[in-house]
């Protein structure tokens, strides 16, 4: 966190100064480890084993927060009889379809829950020429968007002793994650593991809370979603959700990644986590709402959110008669995530590509596949500050150098647009706390550089001008858009405040709304993103508030604005006990005030304000009224936090340790090596390594992890061109231990060549004790650390680490596994010209790699 989020890390340092214990879990010793109280080096790709060990420690030693777990989680909820766990099936859950590489989650449901999950009902996108195991049209990724379909009042055993209650299933599932097993799988000494376990458990409970922070070190795996789920499970057992000082904080790679999922740049979401309608199932508004609304909680008002969104986009054209233009929305037909798009480019079905704020030729897994995909397009638009590699690969990319591509043969027409920096435009950042902070333009952008808002607004304006007068029905969605933002200044910059006002929404008199509770489903309100409703309350840009922390309460509600409803901690009903009293005075946050018969406290209560803790809903109640006084999970269909996830996740109801796709290590926990439903794309230039027991696996004996450095930003577009940053980390390097250097003859500051079945790169060598070899019974595992910032362009240049990584994806969110894979390393520089590809081929031949290598669904140890 100090390494990649130094500004946010100031708060960790402040907590430390106030007595907090800081634990850092990372394969390498980083700038974070340097100031942490405890550093835990573990083998890259084994965090679920580590977290599972903590879960087992908590359960085996009775260290869970009993009252919290019983009242607020689905621990007591009974699971259907047909569910079989990894304990029963040696590493897989019931419902696995080996042929289709997917689970049918029907058997994972609550007892007597007949409702199929969205994953079960969505038809598989069959017939893809490539081998992507696309189970659903991206619905797994949109889980949490719309309510998961579960019975509002499932059967529960409040004693949590029933063998089929979620708590007992969790307990059995993790019973094999012992400290000894953690030591063998993760390489974390037992004593160190127990020290961490003791520290975390003794810092949780009524009087104390523990927070987890993570970044892409957890997500970029073929089981990435389950890494985060494991942390959620642990935090729920410890009672650390919805309480001050608790939570799980996702540290974002860019300043507004949170904002880009809230008002999404994702293909399968609409603003405010409303799922994108599906082509086959969501024929009209009514069917869509029926499938996505819950009976209980705030997703029950789905229709109000959707209708208000449609009114914001299509204004007067959206009427009750035409379903508020619901048919104008695009429809999902399959997986259109970034890697599916790349394979579609290679297959020739994706013809155009618009890249903004990304540099896939450096920053995405298997950089060669990215470039070859772009070389197969009709047109490519790149918007960036600098001439990044994704804009120039056609004239100076690695394939031009090696002779694999000839500029003259590439038919892609490439357009480059210089982009304005955040200092040159107005707008908001939404951070991991869901807090919007407004920034003001300091200067006009130089030359032809323009903001994203300018680009998309004027692009839309020009398209609409071209289409004006068209009678083609296909053009109606564009022509009917409310596309009337005022512009200002010499560059005709659209007014970002006007966009925020539309996101906030207004009533039929155009008066700004102040809360999503005001949204109506009859078309009388418009709101561009229901969770942002209130950011422009009273016509004031609430995100621009900057009252210093010292001049207000410690929750600081007047600094910026946090969605929803300016709540700083969501699900904060859980900060009080079932009777509505704070769990402890020390950790008081919101509570039930008997006198006024309302919830009150330091923050905006995340609960119906006058629902007493003793309230129990009558049968047939809907929405907020269906929430009982002890249902803090106001967005869940059963009002409870989920230890066990019965629906919505593609790869199982409980996080389970699987090895990375390319791992030099066998899975010691189960008879199955990898996540059986991981997404794979085995094709030329994207082959996988042999399983650890298979012949040829010894060709790639080392574990690799990739990462960022403080001095650079992601794929380098914002930093490699800056002399003041370039001089601080002037060259691509790899980090190896003295032991590995000795084993492979690598010299400090010399050159090393690193090879996988996908590519080969060179890097200067830094020999350091900070990336220690991990010792396991009978073997030592060496790890290679690779920053991924460099590419062949810019003021500081180098090979891109992502030339080495495979496209191997998490089945829920299609994220790439670049935090753990295997490779070989040897001294010296890599070959130039055609020799580069020849070396990769030689390695692949030696390892016996075929299109089927590493494709096993089960087994593979």
């Amino acid at each position: 966190m100090a390494e990649c989020h130094p500004v946010g890390f100031q708060w960790v340092m402040e907590a430390k100064a106030r007595g907090a214990t800081v634990i850092h879990v990372d394969p390498r010793f980083t700038r974070t480890s340097a100031v942490a109280d405890i550093h835990v080096p573990l083998r890259a790709g084994t965090d679920i084993a580590f977290l599972g060990g903590l879960i087992n420690y908590v359960l085996a030693n009775g260290r869970y927060f009993h009252d919290y777990v019983v009242a607020y989680t689905n621990g007591p909820t009974l699971i259907g009889e047909s569910f079989e766990d990894t304990e029963d099936l040696d590493g897989v859950f019931s419902g696995l379809d080996v042929e289709k590489r997917r689970y049918d989650p029907a058997s994972w449901q609550y007892e007597n829950a007949e409702m199929p999950s969205p994953a079960a009902e969505a038809p598989a996108a069959e017939g893809n020429a490539h081998q992507l195991s696309v189970a659903t049209a991206g619905r797994g990724e949109s889980h949490g968007s719309g309510g998961a379909q579960v019975p509002p009042e499932p059967e529960r055993d409040e004693t949590m002793t029933h063998p089929r209650c979620a708590f007992q299933i969790v307990k059995r599932h993790y019973s094999r994650y012992t400290p000894e097993m953690v030591e063998q799988v993760c390489g974390v000494p037992k004593d160190l593991f127990l020290k961490v376990a003791e520290t975390i458990t003794s810092s949780s409970g009524r009087e104390r809370t523990t927070a987890f922070c993570y970044a892409v070190g957890w997500t970029q795996h073929t089981v990435g979603v389950q890494y985060v789920r494991a942390a959620a499970l642990l935090q729920l057992l410890l009672g650390n959700i919805g309480r001050p000082g608790g939570g799980i904080l996702a540290l974002r790679g860019h300043s507004s990644i949170q904002g880009s999922t809230d008002i999404p740049t994702l293909y399968n979401l609409l603003p405010g986590y409303i799922p994108m309608p599906h082509a086959n199932q969501d024929e009209n508004l009514e069917k869509f709402v029926e499938a996505t609304a819950t009976a209980k909680g705030y997703w029950a008002d789905m229709r109000s959110y959707v209708v208000s969104l449609l009114k914001a986009w299509w204004g007067p054209a959206a009427t009750a008669e035409n379903d508020f233009c619901f048919d104008y929305l695009p429809r999902l037909t399959g997986d259109h995530s970034t890697y599916a798009t790349v394979t579609a480019q290679l297959d020739g079905t994706c013809k155009g590509y618009l890249i903004a704020g990304e540099n896939p030729a450096v920053g995405s897994a298997n950089a060669k596949m990215q470039r070859l995909g772009m070389a197969n397009l009709d047109w490519l638009v790149v918007r960036d500050f600098s001439l990044i590699e994704s804009a120039t690969w056609w004239k100076d990319g690695p394939e031009i150098e090696s002779g694999e591509l000839e500029t003259a043969d590439i038919k892609t027409e490439v357009f480059f647009f210089p982009a304005a920096a955040h200092t040159e435009k107005n707008g908001s950042f939404t951070n991991t706390q869901r807090m919007l902070q407004w920034h003001h333009a300091a200067v006009e952008p130089a030359g032809q550089a323009r903001s994203e808002l300018w680009f998309y607004y004027h692009l839309g304006r020009l398209i609409r001008e071209r289409l004006a007068g068209s009678t083609d029905e296909m053009d109606r969605p564009l022509l009917d858009l409310t596309w009337d933002y005022p512009t200002e200044g010499p560059l005709a910059e659209p007014d970002a405040g006007a966009v925020l006002a539309e996101i906030n929404g207004w009533d039929s008199d155009k008066e700004p709304l102040s809360s999503y509770g005001q949204l109506e489903d009859d078309g009388s309100t418009a709101c561009g993103c229901w969770i942002y409703c209130g950011v422009f309350a009273d016509g004031v840009n609430q995100a621009a508030r900057r009252k210093p922390g010292g001049e207000q309460s410690w929750v600081a509600p007047e600094w910026g604005w946090a969605w929803p409803a300016n709540r700083r901690i969501i699900y904060n009903r859980a900060s009080a006990d079932p009777d509505g009293r704070p769990w402890s005075e020390r950790k008081a946050y919101v509570w039930w005030d008997e006198k006024s018969a309302r919830w009150t406290g330091h923050d905006v209560p995340d609960f119906p304000p006058s629902t007493s803790p003793r309230y129990r809903p009558p049968e047939g109640a809907r929405g907020a009224e269906a929430l009982s006084g002890i249902d803090p999970a106001v967005m869940q269909g059963d009002g409870k936090f989920w230890l066990y996830v019965p629906t919505g996740i593609q790869d199982g109801p409980l996080p389970t340790h699987y090895e990375p796709q390319d791992s030099p290590f066998p899975n010691l926990l189960y008879g199955i090596q990898r996540n059986p439903v991981r997404q794979l794309v085995s094709r030329r230039h994207n082959r996988y390594h042999p399983s650890p027991s298979a012949p040829g696996s010894e060709v790639f004996p080392y574990a690799v992890t990739t990462y960022r450095l403080t001095e650079h930003h992601t794929a380098g577009g914002m930093s490699r061109w800056q002399p003041y940053l370039a001089e601080l980390q002037p060259e691509m390097f790899c980090e190896v231990s003295p032991e590995l250097a000795e084993e492979r003859g690598l010299e400090h500051l010399g050159w090393a060549t690193i090879i996988t079945a996908r590519g080969v790169i060179e890097a200067r060598v830094l020999v350091t004790e900070r990336i220690p070899p991990l010792r396991f019974p009978g073997r030592t595992v060496h790890q290679i650390g690779l920053p991924y910032h460099w590419g062949p362009n810019g003021y500081t240049r180098g090979d891109a680490a992502n030339e080495l990584a495979a496209i191997a994806l998490d089945p829920n969110v299609h994220i790439q596994e670049v935090k753990a894979f295997s490779a070989d390393i040897r001294p010296g520089r890599r070959p130039r010209g055609p020799g580069r590809a020849a070396l990769v081929e030689e390695y692949s031949r030696r390892a016996g790699i075929t299109p089927d290598t590493g494709m096993e669904v089960t087994g593979g140890r």
Partner: protein
Amino acid sequence: MAADLAVDLAARLPSLLERTDPATASGWRDHPPRMGFFTDTTVCIGCKACEVACKEWNHVPEDGLELTGMSYDNTVGLGADSWRHVAFIEQPRRPARDPGTEATCAAASGVADAGIRWLMASDVCKHCTHAACLDVCPTGALFRTELGTVVVQEDVCNGCGYCVSACPYGVIDVRRGDGRAWKCTLCYDRISVGDEPACAKTCPTDSIQFGPLDELRERADRRLAQLHAAGVGDARLYGRDPDDGVGGDGAFFLLLDEPEVYGLPPDPVVTTRDLPEMWARAGVAAVALAGSVALSFLASTAGRQR
């Protein structure tokens, strides 16, 4: 009479080791309190934002893309083009192969659980109480500000370089291709209008603290006591002591190891400390010489007269 002159000359030079308020010593009257830096290296996370902010604000040029292999330190040291420098010191988890660094293995800081320790520290000009660079500057380009800091005026500096060899810390340096001497100004332009220096402003963990030196010294003493109470026996202040060889630093540090580990001199002495005595001795010698010349002259004249 010549001997009297030499003694008088020595007396008229400022009695350097006695003066503790450099602004007063430099003739400022009714000046604001002396301002300085306290750099608490125990909370430094090595982000180098101080280096970048300093360069941005002061228009200090980039000075080369060289991978040094000295951990994550590619700046190497302070110089004309680096007015802040973050040192990175990796201390091994087992007895070092080089016996010279073995002493640093003692992991007592409380931040060394895995046995390895990675020290980071942002170095800067010390703005000495007795600043040798200022003493030797022949043009008056270097001067003591009313805030007690030491600043070079680039439009006065003639590039003689005397200050470079005078600095006991190796801070001030002549810029290649420019010829003049450059160093940290403690952001004189910012602090004279009540703002804080760029590096302190940007430091995310408050490792770099700016303020009246008296307050910083009190704060540092409290922090040191806190660390000692927490069992961090290695913690020590560097440049805090007004009785040290430079009369105490205007920019001082909290370190976790010997100063040498960070590349700092263990016992810096103002290089002009002995100047008055040298002047006095030179004066005595000159008088003696003049006396003997006079004597021989007188003697010879007397001889001739005889």
